[in-house]
């Protein structure tokens, strides 16, 4: 009973935040780009998102005749499912989480690996050359960046006494947030996580100036909407994960409840990821892969070695 209630709350909350992200992103982008942004639907344009949703639900649900129908329909659901599943292991506050598992972090990594199927299948099923190139880029990018993402997290696990439980990782940060001893790990995780969710500036599978819309070129209506919302859910997921792993999760001064601190920190990261999109150009595909394998991989390995050495030395 209690777990069902928490699941319902978490799902509702996550989807609301994802929808709010659309509005927040558009307003923040317009603020940084010296323009007004959506301001017509409702006060300060807050009804823009409901209006967009009504539009996207009512649009013709069109499947191109040359596409592989079954796969074409399945692809966008995958990204929604795996990102939502990942929220099962996020501790929002003490006692407020769906599952306190001892393999939580592995579950998160496994889900993010599955996300690549969404991109690859969408690109393949669309039977469009732009989609195909986008999907190929997406597959290579996500498979590579998973490696560093996993490795960069090992330092955090070590600091938590070898635990993969998110709750224990948060509790291990009572003295000091992980971001201080694990700064290189944090930076690599941040880059890898943005790459995993293929957000700008690492939106190479979409790359609107080059590949039109990349893997989802042929999608429209609610199926496009799933990719779209899936992207915002994964921004929320990344931000929540970063906060949990590196910024002490719900920990914060006692004058405000832990849940507030968690949300506050998460929103800062959401805004930061939006700022990344507003400010950075897109690297070229091969450059991006080269940076991953030649710079980020060695750093994450060295980070593990040094962390382990210090922990062993301290005993």
């Amino acid at each position: 009973m209690a777990i069902g209630f928490i699941i319902a709350i978490v799902l509702l909350m996550v989807i609301t935040i994802a929808a709010a992200n659309i509005y927040i992103e558009r307003r923040l982008l317009s603020l940084w780009q010296d323009r007004r942004g959506p301001n017509r639907a409702g006060p300060w344009g807050i009804l823009q998102v409901p209006a967009d949703m009504i539009k996207i639900f009512l649009k013709e649900d069109w499947i191109p005749p040359f596409a592989d129908r079954t796969v074409f329909v399945i692809a966008p659901t995958i990204v929604m499912i795996v990102t939502l599943l990942s929220f099962a292991i996020i501790p929002f506050a003490p006692g407020f989480m769906v599952v306190d598992s001892n393999i939580a972090l592995l579950f998160f990594l496994a889900n993010s690996s599955l996300g690549v199927y969404s991109v690859v299948l969408a690109g393949w099923a669309s039977n469009n050359k732009y989609s195909l190139i986008g999907a190929m880029r997406g597959a290579a990018q996500m498979v590579s960046y998973e490696v560093f993402m996993g490795l960069s997290l090992m330092g955090v696990v070590m600091l938590a006494g070898g635990s993969f439980s998110m709750r224990e990782i948060v509790e291990s940060q009572k003295e000091m947030w992980n971001v201080i001893p694990q700064l290189p790990g944090f930076i690599i995780f941040l880059i890898a996580a943005v790459a995993e969710s293929h957000r700008a500036p690492f939106d190479l599978p979409e790359a609107e100036g080059e590949l039109v819309a990349g893997f989802h070129t042929e999608y429209s209506g609610i199926k496009f909407g799933m990719f779209f919302v899936g992207e915002y859910i994964s921004i929320t997921l990344i931000s929540a994960t970063i906060v949990t792993l590196y910024f002490g999760g719900w920990l914060g001064p006692a004058f405000l409840p832990p849940f507030f601190w968690f949300m506050f920190k998460t929103f800062i990261f959401i805004a930061f990821i939006i700022l990344l999109r507003a400010s950075l150009p897109r690297p070229r595909y091969d450059q991006f892969m080269a940076v991953g394998w030649k710079i980020l991989l060695p750093i994450s390995l060295i980070n593990i070695l040094i962390t382990a050495a210090i922990l062993l030395y301290k005993g």
Partner: protein
């Protein structure tokens, strides 16, 4: 005489009977040569003569059959093919004309001599039906493949009302679709190499990265570009044909729409030539106002480029910043002219009206504000490491290649060659101003960007000098052909009244002759080659635009790079589709 020295060299080499020289208004040595000798002569001019004519600046044709007075031509000709060569060493041009007889003549191709002759010859074939023997791919370039007739021939109708109602049946649609199918074999491309099948990717005509209706077909191996085939003509509006139909005065608004980001710069290119033919001296105040507006438009054009260049590289914000400042430029322009992008403000012999009160303050405010923006964008765009990684060493060409392909403007200067027509052939009073010519070193995308950013600083310097030293005096010439003539004096003397009446009702009659004046437009060298047969409209109006030459070069500088690089290259080329197709 300096001007005729090249003619005497040619006479020495090919014999006096082979060359018939023709006087022109612009003083460019012009000679008529038989088609059997023209390839040798062009080859001599390009490769053998000292300080050679390395650039094929323009290649076009004239349908001479309906000239009101054909006896002015030194040689009888039905169609004349015109080669316009430029020598940077001499800072001189030469025009070679080839008379052709008959309805659908042929002549030898010079594609082996100049790489950029390819598109120009296709254009002449498309527009006039003149065939070039030895051309590798003589197909229509601007018109659809199934077009009937050749538009710039005099018998081809210029108005829709002369053409009968337009019908587009289902069969026509199928045929049109079929026509757009890309068949690699036609272009001599194979579908596979020894170890891979190529992917043919159709980029455009509607694509976010092509800035308009440009279609490029990419031959890809993985993401690497093996070859590119540009397919142009989607933006063709027949501006040259309209130039032969509208009066000299009424054609001015059409020029605004050639390079539509650069407004009155187009007016200037056209009017300098018209004024040369009419023998009009433009008063100093009008000249300085023209320069000021030209430089404001240069900034406006470069700002469009700056934002979209960053956008092409995936940076989404700078385009809003640059367009905001472009609006500041347009505020000044609209206060002066009432228009924004298509100001249509210059007139034969001057400008349309004097400057409004308070213009100094607006210009001064802009001069104060804009350097801050430029410095900020330098940090955001030009010094960004990812931008550098995306553009340095990409799309490289050197000075020789630039000249071979007819690249001008910032693209030429980015190769390290200091050449700016405003300095080298000062027109419209540019010699009165102090400014530098920014150059690059490597001729890559980054250097082309760098040069344009520096040009905006130089334009600011020029505008500042215009503001400080704006001369007093009339804003339009009192020459009888200045159009429309100054109204104030019409009620006081009969001559002005007559001129006013004729100039406004018929339009001015420009005396017989031909001229072409190159100017440094925002995107490169732009020129109008105008021929008058003593009439109220041009007999032939040829528009030489920089984008045409630059886009022709794109396949050459894109091979071996990736799709992402191609977009960086296109972004750094800075082209406008209307300027490409006209």
């Amino acid at each position: 005489m300096q001007n005729n020295s090249i003619i005497s060299l040619l006479t020495e080499r090919f014999g006096a009977e082979a060359i018939i020289s023709q006087p022109t208004v612009d003083g460019i040595p012009t000679c008529w040569v038989d088609k059997s000798k023209v390839v040798d002569m062009l080859s001599f001019l390009k490769n053998e003569v000292s300080r050679p004519y390395r650039m094929l600046y323009d290649l076009t044709a004239i349908d001479e059959r309906e000239r009101s007075n054909r006896s002015v031509l030194p040689v009888s000709s039905d169609f004349t093919v015109v080669y316009h060569l430029t020598s940077y060493g001499r800072n001189e041009d030469i025009r070679i004309k080839v008379p052709l007889q008959g309805e659908y003549p042929t002549m030898p191709s010079i594609t082996k001599l100049w790489a950029n002759a390819n598109w120009y010859e296709r254009e002449v074939f498309d527009m006039f039906g003149i065939r070039f023997d030895g051309h590798p791919f003589l197909q229509r370039i601007l018109m659809p493949r199934n077009w009937q007739g050749h538009p710039l021939r005099k018998e081809h109708p210029a108005r829709a009302t002369e053409m009968g109602p337009f019908v587009f049946t289902e069969d026509d649609r199928t045929a049109a679709d079929e026509m757009l199918q890309f068949k690699p074999e036609e272009w001599g491309m194979s579908r596979s190499s020894d170890d891979a099948d190529f992917l043919f990717l159709n980029l455009g005509p509607d694509h976010p990265g092509t800035h308009g209706l440009l279609r490029l077909v990419l031959q890809l191996e993985g993401e690497e570009i093996v070859d590119v085939v540009p397919d142009i003509g989607y933006h063709h509006r027949g501006a040259e044909k309209m130039g032969e139909r509208q009066t000299w005065h009424k054609f001015i608004p059409y020029t605004d729409r050639i390079d539509y980001t650069a407004g009155v710069i187009n007016n200037l290119a056209y009017l300098l030539t018209v004024e040369k033919m009419a023998g009009i001296e433009v008063p100093p105040r009008a000249q300085v106002i023209r320069i000021m507006l030209t430089e404001l438009y240069r900034i406006a054009s470069h700002l469009v480029w700056y934002g979209t260049f960053a956008q092409d590289l995936g940076q989404i914000s700078p385009v809003f910043y640059t367009f905001n400042d472009r609006e500041r430029v347009f505020d000044i322009i609209s206060a002066i002219t009432g228009g924004r992008m298509h100001a249509n403000w210059f007139r034969i012999g001057g400008i349309a009206q004097d400057l409004p009160q308070g213009w100094q303050q607006m210009v001064a405010d802009f001069l104060k504000h804009f350097p801050k923006s430029l410095r900020e964008w330098d940090k955001v765009v030009m010094r960004n490491r990812i931008i550098k990684a995306r553009t340095i060493g990409i799309g490289v060409f050197n000075t020789d290649e630039a000249i071979e392909w007819g690249a001008t403007g910032p693209a030429l200067r980015a190769t390290g060659f200091e050449w700016d027509l405003r300095k080298k052939r000062p027109y419209s009073g540019y010699d009165q101003f102090e400014f530098d010519i920014p150059t690059g070193r490597n001729g890559d995308c980054y250097d082309r960007a760098r040069v344009r950013v520096e040009e905006m600083w130089q334009s600011l310097r020029i505008i500042e000098q215009c503001m400080r030293r704006m001369p007093e005096g009339p804003y339009k010439s009192t020459h009888p052909l200045a159009t429309p003539p100054l109204k104030e004096r019409t009620m006081y003397d009969i001559e002005t009244l007559i001129n006013h009446f004729l100039g406004v009702s018929w339009g001015p009659v420009i005396p017989e002759g031909e001229a072409m004046i190159q100017i440094e437009a925002a995107k490169g060298s732009n020129a109008y080659y105008l021929i008058s047969d003593n009439n109220t409209s041009a007999y032939r109006c040829r528009i030489r635009t920089p984008s045409f030459a630059h886009i022709q070069m794109v396949p050459y500088i894109s091979r071996g790079y990736t799709i992402a690089d191609l977009l960086a290259i296109l972004g750094a080329v800075d082209f406008v589709l209307a300027d490409l197709d006209r």
